[in-house]
């Protein structure tokens, strides 16, 4: 029987292929490159889903227990979010970024140590719906933020080209500034409630388990509040304080960097990701 590892190798190759095809489309502007890139992206998302499903079947548990598994799930959600955002074909230009990021995340996941068995207490915790919700919502939010980061990077690039007027010919395949800006906002409008839900589920879990008060100062928990605050600042800055997009784009970039730190932050109370 094919193992999840083998399917994941195929997925990684497809992510890389998709990123290369979309990148080539940006440079050469050939419609067939875009079409093939889309097919490869769909195949990659399907094989990644199969890899995650096989992993569940092999280990008889949820597929987001170790940091490696969470990163893999994050990559998959990022690609799904990209496919949803590009339904109307207006954001194909962020394809190389989104698939490139997914490729890096899966490769990084493969490099991390992979634990396949869990202590009995952790295994029982996983049976909790609140924990599953906490993890899925948080990872889902970060996946969407990753895509918003791509939009922000694209906005800054396009803004720079339009301001300096250098390389305008090469800018043609890029989506218009206003489309990129509004897409980034839509993504945050989806991701922010997800993150809020994830954090609330985490708080509920801490309260139910009767964790000591010191969990509030857990570095991972603190970092998650910081991430929440950054995206809240983005929404307030954009919608209430009327901040220019160039400024809010930088906020999105800082937001994702902090979000990725969540995976690396030391923790006492978080056992799964």
């Amino acid at each position: 029987m094919i193992g999840s590892g083998s399917v994941l190798v195929v997925t990684v190759a497809l992510y890389l292929g998709g990123a290369v095809l979309f990148g080539a489309n940006l440079l050469l502007r050939h419609p067939s490159l875009r079409r093939v890139g889309r097919v490869v992206t769909i195949l990659a998302a399907l094989t990644h889903m199969a890899a995650i499903g096989l992993r569940c079947a092999e280990l008889q548990r949820a597929p987001f227990v170790t940091p490696a598994e969470s990163l893999s799930l994050l990559a998959w959600i990022t690609v799904l979010a990209y496919m949803a955002a590009d339904l109307r074909g207006r954001l194909t230009a962020i394809g190389p970024f989104a698939l490139g990021l997914a490729f890096l995340l899966v490769v990084l996941a493969a490099l991390l140590p992979s634990a396949t068995t869990l202590p009995g207490e952790n295994a029982s915790l996983l049976a909790s719906n609140v924990i599953s919700l906490h993890i899925l919502a948080t990872v889902g939010a970060i996946g969407v933020f990753a895509l918003a980061f791509c939009c922000a990077a694209l906005y800054l690039t396009a803004h720079h080209i339009l301001k300096t007027k250098h390389g305008l010919v090469r800018m043609k395949p890029l989506p218009p500034l206003t489309v990129v800006e509004s897409s980034a906002f839509t993504l945050i409008a989806v991701g922010f409630p997800l993150l809020t839900l994830g954090i609330l589920a985490g708080l509920l879990r801490a309260w139910r388990e009767g964790l000591p008060a010191s969990w509030i100062w857990d570095p991972k928990a603190l970092l998650s509040y910081a991430v929440w605050a950054v995206y809240a600042a983005y929404l307030i800055g954009r919608n209430l304080l009327n901040q220019p997009p160039i400024r809010t784009s930088y906020v999105l970039i800082v937001g994702l960097l902090l979000s990725l730190l969540l995976f690396l932050a030391p923790t006492t109370f978080h056992r799964f990701h």
Binding site: L168, V169, M171, L174, P176, L177, T178
Partner: protein, 441 residues
Amino acid sequence: MPLSVIGLSHNTGAPVDIRERVAFTTPGAAENALVGLRDALGPGIECVLVSTCNRTELYLASAADLPSADVLDLLLSTRGLTEAEQVRPYFSERIGHRAIEHLFRVGAGLDSMILGETDIVRQIKESYRIAADQGCCGKTLNLLFHEALRVAKRTRSETDMGRGAFSIGHAAAEVARNIFGGESGRTVLLLGAGKMTETTARHLLAPGTAFAGGSSVVVANRTYDRAVRLAETLGGQAIRYDVFPEYLAKADIVIASTAAPRPIVSREMVENALKHRRHRDPLFFIDIAVPRDIEAAVGDLPGVFLYNIDDLKQLVEEDMAERRTRAARAEQIVREEALSFARRLQATATATPILTALRANHHAIIAAEVARLRQRLPHLSPEEWKVIEASFTAVENKLLHGPTVRIKEYAASPDHAAAKFATVRELFDIGTEEEHPEVAS
């Protein structure tokens, strides 16, 4: 049926005064010319006249060889040019495969004054429509022009030849698209009511472009009456010149082209306007005036994009350079398509006499058989005979389907075609072309 094209263009060295003398661009001129040509050249002649500001070309398909000098005389006489020795040297003629390739090049924009321009496709469609309406198109030119339009579409989609800026106004519209995309409901403020402002605005608001429909136009000019006239033409609103700074806060795109000796839009003015608008909405200034109408420092403001005439010229040149590199691929597509079409046309010409003879033979046999049956079965009603005849026809079609496909295949592949056709003639007892001249023609 041999194809040819006779005509002149900027590429045959014809200067503008010659081109305008032979152009059939006034309403009804092309129709009259086609009718005149058809009547003079006789039946069996197909002709399409493509006449634009840069070219006048007559495409002909005729079974017989037509002396080009005679055709040219006719064409010029329909234009009222009976003594036209001055214009003759600029005409050139292309025959057969070269005529096909030429039309494909014209459709792809490779023969245009502005390389890759797309308006020529509309002009070819219109020329073809006029000829078809006048009954001047037969099987050959129908095929040729449909194919030319398909090739034009293919070259543009595969090489992006039709993209990019062709003029200052076009370049401004391209940059606006890069900023705003296809969002409607934008406000365009025009400062000045001169020709340049109008042309640029028309590029922005042209049907099919991102800003067509739903965008509002505001015109400010020192002479209010001229602002009113331009606003009426563009379906917009005229305002007094001294109140235009208030409208900067509402505008998304500002096109400035006044004769003012110094800038009329200052950085301070724009800063004030920005305070009254949503920051996330960009503001795009197009300054095509010389001397400039907008202070250069305006371009340093966040969310503001300022393009002057040099910036837009630069964009046009960059696009043109890119189109030149893409033209090589477009030329290759055109050559391949022209060769393929010429072969298909040749194959049809070769296969048609044999197929016609084959069908005639079978038809004669069936007609004789039906006549014999009519004598033997006189009691059958006309309806019943219709059924019998339809049945015979169906059998004939089924029997001939296979040979028809094979004969077309033989005609399409030049290898041993003559030997294969000889075998076909022998098998089906068709005889040679010399024996059936009426079939060969």
